[in-house]
Symmetry: C2
Subunit: 589 residues, 2 copies
């Protein structure tokens, strides 16, 4: 794990408060492993002379834990792990270092909690006040909100701890902390990645810091959990709104910063706003007060990545963590020569290395020569494993046995390929990757149990137009590094086709992808109705056609594999629509 | 729709208040159709001289509408449909009849709302106060709670309207209505079926009635929506807790009852408890006051059905409504000769008729003679369509092309069958029924994209031991009616087997189903942890084995078809667990 240090000018004689933010990758349910991560990072923070180290939301349990919260045994184990961690930290020599850590508590109901561990015990507890219950979040299902804000004085600095959503709501714990006169607000987060969300986070932290008149230390998880990627983007913002430090996205980091904080004089306790404020002190050990600390070199403020690089980082991390955290050694996917499978294969190679990626070409009589050639070209560039299995004889065996025509015959080819991939998965232990993109999945342009098979769908939330952009970006990034461009130019340039019948092209049955994706962004991601869609300039007939396709494909999506969320609204926990529904925007409104 | 009437002794000269409860089957999103249902039932209520008629929760939109609520166009359409309905009711001659109807409102946020329609307009609105956000419910995701309780005086009677969850929570609108001195509380519901839930409903309604000192008129939806079945069970309970009438389950009904209510004298308004009470009057038309009304014959109080009959009713209705509301004409399923497919075929025949049910036997070299015979026997008894497709040559074509051994070869057979069923579905438009039961799905004893294929899984929430009980019950019910027993005795009696290798039996890899189902009920349905499971007397080694199987099968369940919920906790919206999880009860606790 990299160590990012930032020094301040210490010549004015004021002793700085050295804070460490541990942007770490934990795993849901791995209580022992997550506690071990805390111990190793706390030790590192101690070694650089930190006065406090903070870990993300639900550090002990991982996040989100979903219905595991309903199991009392799980909450009990979380609390036991927290208590053991406090003792272990003291045994490790970290007892004098205040450690802020998220965990699952059970106190008159389950709580999304933060503890300050100090001297082998829990010095303070905070329960998340604002519980998000929209999008992918179901926290009102799980947690009771906390109504108390403890403030701890440490090295003369008044510190409050808050959790994630608390930051996003006006008039909550941040306002209370401001009125109570705290100097430093530590905010621990499990804030999932969405495109451009980092553009919102910094101004929000800045606003809260200036409102509260306090420094905000924002630490976020990094890593992936099923459909969610946490991008890190931990940061520290001063009471004037100045950005003091910001960590890289998609990497584990220990961000260490010296804060020159002049303790405030307003020190209120008791009921403030919606909460009650209590106060306590973390005594500083004599040896800690007298230690000499390493000088921190200045660190750059990392800027969030440009959009395409950031999306790529999210997709790579999402896939890598799904593979690793579910204990797979390798992945397998069908390579058609088209852009979707080429992009997924490239993501897989970036995520887990070419020697763990198995590509399979499964040509039929309708597969063009260029498709076979493009698939071969791709694997030559990537250096991954490759096999070819012709499906003709298997398809013929089905058709000798049962009469299937038209769409049924087209789908049969896709299902033969799906069964072959699953067979290879069963035989060799590979995770099967589904290569469907968001545009296809939206309109149901895929075969259930055919090309849709797979345990994970890396580009499930990537619209087709973004697939092409990412492919071009990835090639150009390779070219800039003097590496081989991984994706064959022909796969990017040629018109997309499922190749399930002679001469078939996507454009036979779908509008141009630029037009389709614009409608989907408004209908799927933004939930606009028919009138609003027309007002946005979309063509009425195209809107009618697309909406009908989207509505009718709900049953297919329900059975689709999980995949990394990158958009405002992904398919999965994020968008919950009935299958049985007679609502049609174009008919009723 | 049947008409259930109940007369009271009218000899004391008091004019009874005649209430009608419309237990109806609406469809999500079918705003026009649902409004038409209200009009036809309101007309029927008028014709029997009702003073008020009440329809279920979210009558206009169907329920639950899930993320359709997030679309403003949908809420606007609901409100427009409500306003049009008020006008249409007046045009129909029903203007003088107060009609209580549930709908989706948008008023500083979305609301789960009830309106009282009268004289062509909305006379009062109520917004649901308690929003369930557990189990299958996500109402905190969608709705703002209402804080006002309007009370309307109609024919001298003070009436309040409440919605579903309001009934289940202490100290809410029912307590407020009681303190305000109302005579009649109309409670409109979308309360999904669970086994034995009706045993809880009646005592609860009785408790609320006595607490409030008011009559409660409880009307529930009947019909199915994706995984939920609404069983009806509408009822009326007097202020002393006496059950005055109760409607049949699983059938549409108009329950009409004469209430002899002595108007109360306590008439408070203003802030009471958590809510604010307002008062209004519904003027009675002269002609209505002078009309002569038909005498109501006494009706029996329907008892809830015995458990197995009730479960059967729920499964039949769940399947029938999924087929009809999604516009399928027919279903297809694989018939193995085993008990699961036999039970699903029988359910399908009961739900939509034998001429719409297509059974397919797909024997392999491992299929026993008795399996083929039992499948044939079943279709002879049911009278449904039947076809046989041997899979041997297709399996051979795969194995000529790719090396698959052991489990991979076993799964291949299941996937060939799955592809054949899907091919028949594509060719003929049948809905494919998955025949997996809850025990199998819990432990992952199924092949993804193999025997698990299907758009609907009728016995997904039925444990194997209950599968046998239902089969025996269905046969004995047939025998009692002098009909042919639909399920071959041999399918019930023989040891279960997947028949994917020679001599295979379920008991090779799973504990006895009595033991397995008992553990699953405690672990899956009740969320007990390892220590509690051992305390309940389950064998530690069996618990360890079963929990590992359940935990590892989460990815399969995520891609499984929806199926009717009958238990405390079904797979689907009801149980939301991460796929990526290292939590193991037996390791950590």
């Amino acid at each position: 794990m990299g160590l990012a240090l930032r020094g301040m000018d210490e010549d004015d004689g004021m002793e700085p408060f050295r804070i460490a933010l541990a942007q770490v990758n934990m795993c849901v349910g791995d209580l022992a492993g997550n506690a071990a991560r805390v111990r190793s990072r706390a030790r590192a923070a101690l070694e650089v002379g930190a006065d406090l180290v903070a870990f993300p939301e639900m550090m002990i349990t991982g996040y989100p834990t979903e219905d595991l919260v309903l199991r009392r045994s799980f909450a009990q184990a979380s609390q036991a792990a927290l208590d053991a961690l406090a003792t272990d930290l003291a045994s490790d020599g970290c007892g004098s270092l205040p450690v802020v850590v998220g965990y699952l508590a059970h106190d008159e109901g389950a709580r999304n909690a933060a503890a300050v561990l100090h001297r082998g015990a829990v010095a303070a507890r905070y329960y998340k006040h604002h519980l998000p219950n929209y999008g992918v979040f179901d926290e009102a299902r799980y947690f009771r909100p906390g109504m108390r804000l403890p403030i701890l004085t440490s090295s003369g600095i008044d510190v409050a701890v808050t959790i994630c959503e608390d930051l996003w709501v006006d008039g909550g714990p941040f306002a209370v902390a401001g009125q109570a006169g705290v100097d430093l607000i530590v905010c621990i987060n499990g804030s999932p990645y969405e495109r451009a969300k980092d553009d919102v986070r910094l101004p929000l932290v800045q606003r809260r810091a200036t409102e509260a008149g306090a420094t905000i230390a924002y630490v976020n998880t990094v890593g992936a959990q099923d459909e969610l990627v946490f991008d890190g983007d931990s940061m520290i913002v001063g009471p004037g709104g100045e950005l003091l430090a910001r960590a890289e996205q998609f990497e584990e980091r220990l961000l260490v910063v010296d804060l020159l904080i002049e303790p405030g004089h307003c020190r209120r306790a008791g009921p403030i706003g919606p909460m009650t404020v209590s106060r306590g002190t973390l005594p500083v050990d004599d040896d800690a007060a007298q230690r000499t600390r390493p000088h921190l070199p200045p660190v750059p403020h990392f800027q969030p990545m440009p959009d395409l690089e950031e999306v790529w980082g999210a997709l790579v991390l999402g896939l890598r963590d799904y593979v690793h955290k579910n204990d797979f050694e390798s992945v397998v996917l069908g390579l058609s020569g088209g852009i979707d499978s080429a992009l997924v294969a490239t993501l897989a190679v970036d995520a887990i290395g070419a020697d763990r990626v198995y590509g399979v070409s499964m040509p039929s009589r309708y597969s063009s020569e260029h498709s076979r050639g493009d698939a071969g070209d791709l694997v030559d560039r990537l250096g991954c494993h490759f096999d070819t299995i012709a499906i003709e004889s298997i398809v013929a065996a089905y058709l000798d046995t049962v009469t299937l025509t038209g769409l049924a015959e087209e789908n049969l080819q896709a299902r033969v390929r799906g069964a072959l991939l699953m067979g290879l998965s069963n035989e060799h232990g590979h995770l099967v990757l589904a290569t469907g993109n968001k545009s296809e999945i939206s309109v149901g342009y895929s075969t259930l149990y055919g090309d849709s098979v797979g345990g994970f769908a890396p580009i499930k939330d990537v619209p087709k137009t973004l697939v092409w952009k990412l492919a071009r970006w990835r090639n150009s990034a390779a070219a800039q590094r003097g590496e081989t461009e991984p994706i064959p130019a022909n796969s990017i340039a040629k018109p997309p086709s499922a190749e399930l019948r002679p001469g078939q092209q996507d454009s036979d049955s779908l509008p141009d992808y630029e037009i389709l994706d614009a409608i989907l962004a408004d209908y799927v991601d933004r939930d606009l109705g028919h009138r609003e869609l027309i007002e946005r300039g979309h063509h009425p007939e195209t809107v009618a056609m697309v909406l009908q396709l989207v509505d009718r494909a709900e049953y297919k999506r329900r059975q689709f594999a999980p995949g990394t969320k990158i958009s405002l609204k992904s398919f999965g926990r994020d968008r919950r629509l009935p299958i049985t529904s007679r609502w049609r925007e174009t008919v009723e409104s």
